[in-house]
């Protein structure tokens, strides 16, 4: 399978601020890739470099095997075959839905316009104006407009952040289905972990202008390579330990651990792998507890001032000050931490 996008060692700074610092990413054809990172990590800039709205200071980008930017090349955005869906949708306010969708097609091709509108579930809406549509409908028009010219890839910049929370989950599912049906390679940027885990085939986690780890959502959650990725995607406690043959020795005890590294390592303990039982003679003390309905997230004070996060079912209820016993059922050795 070839790559629809390939970014190699991109660098970009604005004034003194380094935005991209060795950003590399491969996007396989036909996949949906999420680019996840905190605000200011450079994810939007990376997307804009691929689209051609920013020129990198160094590095190269290929789209569908064609170099669109490197030291000697700069293909302007209109000739890159890259479709973009903007955070605020950026529908042309003075044009009808049909004119918006047909904008990227030679002579507006009404049949193709009808076809993509049908695909996004807005058949027959050609004559409407953007401001007459709901947020979710505008989102789908923006998607249809980007899909219409059959671009090599579609980029979505924080696509769901402008929608209300109740709408968001539904629109997210719809958009994913449309993208899968259209078999378009897609990259979308988000800072929302749950969103990223839910809709991507592959996730790239970014921090400070570079990609730290690229993997499937499940792989990322279960086997993060470093402490920052581990804590960015879900909760967990990190402790130092010594790994060897499927177990790890830590100040919190010895327990089973996955991962190939041996020797001095960092170990991630997810809260769902900490089992707690109320016990007035227990060694751990409940410091805080957050109640979510389907479960509770509990911060424990364990030996020598360490804190440990644990997850427990809705009952029994734990309160600050309760004494508990805990058992760590498994842990993850962070591969990137091995000396």
């Amino acid at each position: 399978m070839s790559n629809a996008i390939s970014c190699r060692d991109l660098h970009k700074r604005f004034g003194d601020e380094v935005i991209l610092d060795g950003f590399s990413m491969e996007v396989p054809e036909g996949s949906i890739v999420g680019l996840l990172g905190p605000s200011g990590s450079g994810k939007t800039t990376a997307l804009r470099v691929v689209a051609g709205f920013e020129r990198p200071d160094a590095g190269a980008v290929e789209v569908a095997g064609v170099t669109v930017v490197d030291e000697n090349t700069f293909v302007p955005p209109e000739r890159r075959r890259v479709g973009m869906v903007f955070q605020d949708f950026a529908l042309f306010p003075h044009m009808t839905v049909g004119a918006n969708v047909g904008y990227g097609l030679p002579k507006g091709e009404p049949r193709r316009v009808a076809e993509v509108l049908e695909m996004v579930g807005l058949a027959g809406m050609e004559r409407r104006l953007p401001h007459e549509l709901s947020g979710g409908e505008q989102q789908r028009v923006a998607l249809a407009r980007a899909l219409a010219p059959s671009p090599a890839v579609i980029l979505l910049d924080e696509p769901f952040s402008n929608l209300d929370a109740p709408q968001r989950d539904r629109v997210r599912r719809e958009v994913r289905n449309i993208l899968v049906e259209a078999r378009t390679t897609t990259v979308f940027v988000t800072h929302d972990q749950a969103e990223a885990l839910a809709i991507s085939d592959v996730l790239a986690v970014m921090r400070a202008g570079r990609v730290l780890q690229t993997a499937t959502p499940n792989e990322l959650y279960c086997h993060p390579t470093n402490a920052w990725v581990a804590q960015f995607l879900g909760e967990g406690s990190i402790v130092a330990g010594t790994a060897g043959r499927g177990t790890v020795e830590t100040p919190l005890g010895r327990f089973p651990a996955s991962g190939d590294a041996v020797g001095e390592v960092e170990v991630l303990i997810r809260p769902e792998h900490v089992r707690i039982t109320a016990d007035s003679g227990g060694t751990a003390l409940v410091v805080t507890s957050e109640y979510f309905g389907h479960d509770q997230l509990i911060t424990l004070h364990v030996a020598d001032g360490r804190r440990l996060l644990a997850r427990s079912g809705p009952l029994p209820l734990f309160r600050p000050g309760d004494r508990v016993r805990y058992e760590i059922t498994e842990a993850v050795v962070l591969a990137g931490s091995a000396a």
């Binding site: 939007t44 209109e78 479709g83 042309f92 923006a142 910049d157 402008n162």
Partner: protein
């Protein structure tokens, strides 16, 4: 957490700028800049004559005259403009909606039309003297110029102050009242300082207008700079004194701009979107009567009397003498200038708003600097430059329109740029990623989305071109008549009835764009 809007901050930075975007501001501003530079070179090259003229007692007297007039007009327009704004925006004065319109109307009146009305009303031949049965002393000289320019320019201060009062959060005022300040102290210590930036820029317009006003001071025979520069040019073969004095006038304009900049202060005042209407001050019965009286007097002096006098004089004309040629000339020149300035303002606004850099900020500043240049100076500079390099080609409609578009370019640029800044740059990027090049994007996406700004800019240029006098006088092709020229030349020859007809026509034509502009504001 909502999404971090880092797109907007990133969007204006570091994008490839198509070279042809630079052509538009060049075409727009060079017709003013090139002759101006030539004039400055010529003046600086005139050696000892430069210092002789600059240091002469006549120049000192001119500076004193002009400065006195500017200071008087600034003070009186500040009082009238802020006072009227407060009455119509922040009190429960009856009929304040109507007053808001009435108070703005003199914006239509060019200074020389007010001056004409003043001359035609007072003195031995004055209409009001006839009416009164005795001779009301002629109002001319400094007093006349002061009165005329105050009436012609206070709406600029009013507009700035009322817009700013409307945006002002009344919570500040209420906080001050809650801390024990009386209404006057709250106004003086809380409201007034917050009005300062807006009122300051309004007063800057007033000062520059007064400084470079030609029509009123020449009709009222007050020796301020513009009048003497023109007289020197028209009356003497030796052009050096006119050139030198025109340059000194530019220095005075710079001093005014510098003074406004120095007093602007450093505090940042952010008008928040006001969600609830400000609490209106209650006027007592007496206060209400006094306020209504003052505003009525203002309307009488600035509108009713001038218009009445003009109509009275016009009715003395025997037979219909509508100056069709002048009408056509005014409309042609103003329309062409408005179209040219707007057409060049669109790509320039794209350059400034979407490709912001140190250089583009200089482009914008230059546009405003050219706007602040006295028109007498620009006109003279063009005459000198053309006489030297263009073989007298300057007396053509092309040059006249190009100069209008250059000096009024900032008026077309301002609203267009403001409209563009309200449009997300993502719209243009969407167009680009859908396969449209930069040129097609400007025509099909940018222009329609900023059309309100473009139209507002075009209307402003049309309006000011209609009223413009000194540059027109200097640069018009032989036989080319405009309403402004007609009014001025007839009034200058004391032919008040012949001046009244084009003056009324001018007001009627100028009222149309003004009406359209104010309707957009509200």
């Amino acid at each position: 957490m909502t999404a971090p809007p880092d797109t907007a901050a990133v969007a204006t930075r570091a994008r490839p700028t198509p070279w042809w975007l630079w052509v538009a501001p060049g075409l727009a501003l060079l017709p003013a800049l090139v002759p101006f530079t030539f004039l400055m070179g010529r003046v600086l090259g005139s050696g000892s004559r430069l210092s002789d003229i600059v240091l002469s007692s006549q120049t000192a007297r001119l500076i004193a005259n002009t400065a006195t007039l500017v200071v008087l007009v600034v003070i009186s327009t500040a009082v009238i403009g802020i006072g009227a704004a407060w009455l119509t925006e922040r009190t429960d004065l009856r009929g304040r909606r109507l007053w808001r319109v009435v108070v703005m109307l003199p914006l239509v009146m060019p200074s020389y039309v007010i001056a004409l009305a003043l001359l035609a009303a007072t003195g031995p031949r004055g209409y009001l003297s006839d009416l009164a049965g005795f001779t009301i002393p002629a109002v001319s000289g400094l007093i006349g110029a002061w009165l005329t320019l105050t009436l012609a320019t206070y709406p600029y201060v009013y507009l700035a102050a009322s817009a700013s009062l409307r945006r002002l959060d009344s919570a500040h005022e209420e906080a001050a009242r809650g801390l024990g300040a009386g209404p006057w102290r709250a106004f003086r210590t809380i409201v007034l300082p917050q009005l300062r930036p807006a009122v300051g820029s309004g007063l800057l317009v007033v000062a520059l207008y007064t400084l470079s006003d030609f029509g009123a001071v020449s009709l009222l025979r007050f020796d301020s700079f513009s009048r003497v520069v023109y007289a020197q040019y028209a009356g003497r073969l030796d052009r050096t004194p006119a050139a030198v004095l025109a340059s000194v006038l530019v220095v005075l304009a710079l001093v005014v701009v510098w003074a406004e900049w120095r007093t602007r202060g450093r505090a940042a005042y952010h008008g928040r979107p006001v969600t609830r209407p400000p609490r209106l001050a209650r006027l007592s019965t007496t206060g209400s009567a006094v306020a209504t009286g003052l505003l009525t007097a203002l309307a009488l002096v600035s509108l009713v009397i001038p218009l009445g006098v003009l109509v009275a004089w016009a009715s003395r004309v025997s037979g219909p003498v509508i100056p069709w040629d002048a009408m056509a000339g005014s409309l042609t020149a103003a329309t062409l200038a408005a179209l040219l300035a707007s057409a060049l303002a669109l790509p320039t606004a794209v350059l400034i708003a979407r490709h912001s850099s140190r250089t583009t900020r200089w482009v914008e500043r230059t546009a405003y600097a050219v706007f602040a240049l006295p028109h007498v100076t620009i006109g003279l500079a063009t005459v000198f430059f053309a006489a030297r390099y263009l073989g007298g080609f300057y007396q053509s409609l092309t040059v006249l329109v190009a100069v209008y578009a250059a000096v009024f370019f900032a008026q077309a640029l301002g609203p267009t740029r403001a409209a563009l800044l309200q449009v997300s740059p993502a719209i243009e990027e969407a167009s680009r990623s859908l396969g449209a090049g930069p040129m097609r994007t400007i025509v099909r996406i940018t222009a329609p989305t900023v059309r309100r700004g473009l139209v507002a800019g075009a209307l402003l240029v049309f309006l000011t071109t209609m009223k413009e006098l000194p540059a027109t006088l200097l640069l018009r092709p032989t036989g080319f008549e405009t309403l402004a020229i007609d009014v001025w030349s007839a009034a200058d020859s004391l032919l008040y009835s012949r001046a009244a007809v084009p003056a009324i026509l001018l007001l009627v034509v100028a009222a149309i764009p003004t009406y359209l502009l104010t309707r957009r504001e509200t």
